[in-house]
Symmetry: C2
Subunit: 236 residues, 2 copies
């Protein structure tokens, strides 16, 4: 029997209408899938209902994937593919396997020779980079910076140094309640002329994507306390 | 008068139906814009016609943006925004300002306090990363590798070393006619267990996104000679 495929299904970033950020064809693919590997079953159900109000949730099988999921379970999640069924991975926000556990499933699928199909959707990393005005030919996404003050200062200085010496855009994220602390740490550790782009609520009504030199940010701190944000720095 | 906004308008990767890779709402935004900064006027016109067959091309103003465009001209392209008009940037493939000259326009827009709005679309960098099974929490896009043999070998070894020591996915591209040469250079310079993902024709009918250890690739070279491809390496 022909193997099924593993589809990577992006979701909206925040409360955006689906048609604003997802191609219409994603919906047709979603409607043809009965097995979903998801970070959170409740929010995955909500997304599937929003994507197709007629969907019968009880006909679907969900497998939970989070930091507690064991490797052997992840492997078994893909068994339905051997029986010819397609499987979809749905993460909490944006694109699966980018900054979330989906990558482990994909790695196993690739090692088994399973066809993996990524669908188009919103990515805060890519969209903030597009709108930052920074170098899109060379860039690094670093995830979260260290918390420990000395390591954190060292990490910020290394990213800034690479932004200058390797002409790269350096991208990173922070826990929402630490946004203002991060901006303070960047102001303290970066050169005043280094450019910082702060992006939040991407694709939402209150979207904010603004680039300024570090020295100008503390004059006009954005209202992003406790709002998910992404940060980009580049040579000034 | 209220300023216009600068929209970053992704296009398809190759001959894919628009509804497969672009949200329906991009079309509405495109239809409201009369000024476009484009890499190539002919292909931009073709995309706009495909996106909206009713569009009247003669009502639109196009500004060409390529490596020959002077900085002062780029700045003047944005003047219509002061008169309240929106402007769209359209690149040759995928997302503007990611691996193309659009970033210069965006940088000027940001420095003038112009609102920059990125739209969702296909990115070979992001989609290949999603489907590779590699680390999506930390990754670097490196653009093209050097051509000069010694620099090239050094660059490949540095990327591989960072893939292991910094746990990052290293992504790069190559001119299509050099694909097979690049795979040979990777085989020669990387550890046999290092994983290589080769992705080509992303979102097209002949989409190919496959991950294998370096040592297994030369047993089964893909037919990607002269086909646009993107490469990812990660620790084995």
């Amino acid at each position: 029997m022909k193997n099924g495929s593993l589809y990577l299904i992006p979701v909206t970033l925040g409360e955006t209408p689906i048609d604003k950020v997802l191609p219409i064809q994603n919906r047709e693919i979603i409607n043809s899938i009965k097995h979903f590997i998801v970070e959170d079953i409740r929010s995955a159900r909500r997304f599937l209902k929003k994507s197709n109000p007629e969907i019968v949730i009880d006909d679907l099988t969900f497998y939970t994937l989070n930091e507690h999921t064991k490797g052997e379970d992840i492997g078994s999640y893909l068994n339905a593919i051997k029986e010819g069924a397609d499987i979809g991975i749905i993460s909490e926000a944006g694109c699966p396997a980018i900054a979330d556990p989906g990558a482990d499933v994909v790695a196993i699928a690739q090692s088994r020779g399973i066809r993996v199909v990524p669908l188009v959707g919103p990515s805060s990393i890519l969209m903030s980079l597009m709108a930052s005005g920074f170098n899109g030919q060379k860039f690094t996404f670093n995830g979260y910076l260290p918390i420990e003050p000395n390591e954190r200062a060292k990490a910020i200085k290394l990213l800034e140094q690479r932004a200058y010496s390797e002409d790269t855009t350096q991208i990173f994220i922070e826990a929402p309640y630490r946004n203002l602390k991060l901006i303070a740490d960047l102001t303290k550790n970066c050169r005043p002329q280094t450019k910082l782009c702060i992006a939040s609520a991407i694709t939402c009504d209150n979207e904010f994507i603004v680039t300024k030199p570090i020295k100008e940010w503390n004059k006009c701190l954005p209202e992003i306390n406790k709002i998910p944000a992404i940060y980009l720095i580049y040579k000034g």
